[in-house]
Symmetry: C2
Subunit: 344 residues, 2 copies
């Protein structure tokens, strides 16, 4: 670490000496305490300015037990949705005077738990978990979060886990998909394929909305119209081509994210199906992707920004010792574009 020591950092003692006051007074000035006379305060501030003094954050952290840092855990910031969320969260946190430590955990359970531990060790003031990937389907696998929440408040963006110090903000995926099915049906679709990526908490809510909407509208749920596809766009397209080749027919696709939907769009082109006339497609997240394709993609906007703003607002109340809601569900908005027929 010979890179350090370039400039001998000044300390509070240097300032106190130059100002002819005690370090306590300097500290008070630093913390904008009211019990310092304006005169001394100004003088100290003056000296601080002159010396280009910056208080040592570690020492302050050691003293107060906090460095005003929030940990953000997300599977991968390269993911469009997560990147957006992180961007909003970081902005809000900063506005509230908190720095953010980012940790991309990936999708592996062990690593997630390890990353959470690392955050605790780092003594962040709270951890925000972004994405429904964090909710696993067995209590044992979620235990590490419950454990962590004993020592530190946990905020979830688009995930729900019950716990005394766990606060969740999520979009109403169930209703969004329920409504989307209704829209497709209203526009004349008969057979709607539900296309999803993996079994997350969010996905199960979406699928529930899908099946409930079908049965409420008197349609029989056909399990073969639920298809899973992972991988990238090209793979999704291939999967659908194969599925279609096996004789499966549908005139509507409700996908659990925009990438899947665009894969579907590429499939439509490959299968020479006109969109939206012969095949309607709805994506989810209302990401940039949805306006890149032709026709542009109808999508479900899950109000990521609102969720994030709300998450940080809630966190601030929690850190302030105020009461806060443990579960907040936010409404989504259906965005009509070119891949679905206008109703009526």
């Amino acid at each position: 670490m010979q890179e350090k020591e370039r400039t001998k950092q000044k300390t509070i003692y240097d300032i106190s000496r130059r100002a002819g006051v005690s370090i306590a007074t300097v500290s008070r000035v630093l913390n904008d305490s009211p019990k310092v006379s304006i005169k001394t305060k100004e003088r100290v501030l003056q000296i601080i300015e002159e010396c280009g003094y910056e208080p040592n954050a570690f020492a302050r952290g050691l003293g107060t037990g906090s460095m005003r840092t929030i940990g953000i855990l997300c599977a991968d910031v390269a993911d469009l949705y997560l990147a957006n969320a992180v961007s909003y969260l970081e902005r809000e946190l900063r506005q509230n005077g908190f720095d953010t430590i980012l940790n991309c955990t990936g999708y592996d359970h062990e690593r997630k738990a390890a990353c959470m531990k690392a955050m605790e060790a780092r003594r962040v003031d709270a951890v925000i978990l972004v994405g429904s990937h964090y909710i696993e389907n067995t209590p044992e696998k979620n235990q590490y979060m419950v454990d962590a929440s004993v020592n530190i408040p946990l905020m979830m963006v688009n995930g729900y886990l019950k716990g005394d110090h766990i606060y969740c903000n999520l979009s109403d995926d169930y209703s969004a998909y329920y409504e989307a099915v209704g829209n497709l049906l209203d526009s004349g679709c008969q057979d709607i394929l539900f296309l999803y990526r993996e079994a997350t908490y969010s996905q199960s809510q979406k699928q529930k909305g899908y099946t409930d909407a079908l049965s409420d509208r008197g349609k029989v749920f056909r399990p073969e119209l639920v298809l899973q596809s992972n991988g990238k766009m090209e793979q999704i397209k291939e999967d659908l081509i194969q599925y279609y080749g096996e004789g499966n027919r549908f005139d509507g696709i409700l996908a659990s994210d925009d990438e899947l939907a665009i894969g579907a769009l590429k499939f439509a082109k490959a299968a020479s199906l006109t969109v939206p006339e012969e095949l309607s497609i709805i994506g989810c997240n209302n990401s940039v992707l949805s306006i890149c394709c032709e026709p542009e993609l109808s999508s479900i906007d899950n109000k990521c920004e609102i969720i994030c703003v709300n998450t940080v607002a809630t966190l601030m109340r929690v850190l302030d010792g105020q009461k806060a809601s443990h579960k907040t569900i936010l409404a989504t908005e259906y965005i009509q574009r070119g891949t679905t027929k206008e109703n009526m």
Copy 2:
């Protein structure tokens, strides 16, 4: 902050007492020092485990002067390219045992400088600046980085600034654009429009490649074939429609990013120009966007991952006191897809 204190955190003293050794020994065990007998080491480790003890990171930071944290400054993680870069950087840093503090500075000069100051105050071990936006065109505006680099190593991803403790890794935008122009010309294009977003360092390199290639191929540079367009996809399309409406003609577009290129593609559709027959388009960054559209976008891959891996590797050498290269330029790769004609 009443949220703290849930579990009285154990200290090194608690461990030393329970283990019947001095705190120094515990500290040695913690730091995996070789000068501890295996026996005591195991015993101490045992106790640490039992107590669920975690060393206080702030205290350690105060003692060592480092919390093994790197600051990443980027204009906005919601930006596709930047998100990718941050993702790679974070991964590499973590693999080297460093946490990353993310700060999205936006594009305003004042804020950038303020954020840099904040990083210094936080006493990160180094700062990585991502994106060529950080390089302004007057030395005065770049001064804050030079100043910061006196106290802390600075790494630049896709930007170049001279300085003793500044280390830059950037893609060879000049050659990439020089070559791209060649490709367009070879495929039969006559009039190539250079479409850019804003005057950044990177952009100027690209434009230089563009003009040099033209003149080297005996074409006269026509200033009216350089068009700036900001805003989102829709706006870009509109700008081009207007530009085209004013009588400007071209059969190739070389854009400085994928979003611009897709805006161009949308323009082509609006103007009923077939792509790539009547209009060839090349984007840059080889982002997801490039495979969302129809036809898929030919793009310049600037090897973001390699740059990031290299950046962190260089940083590690710097922190280790070794010599490192101040400027590394990496080759790009042209990705041929559907918006350009195959050569030959």
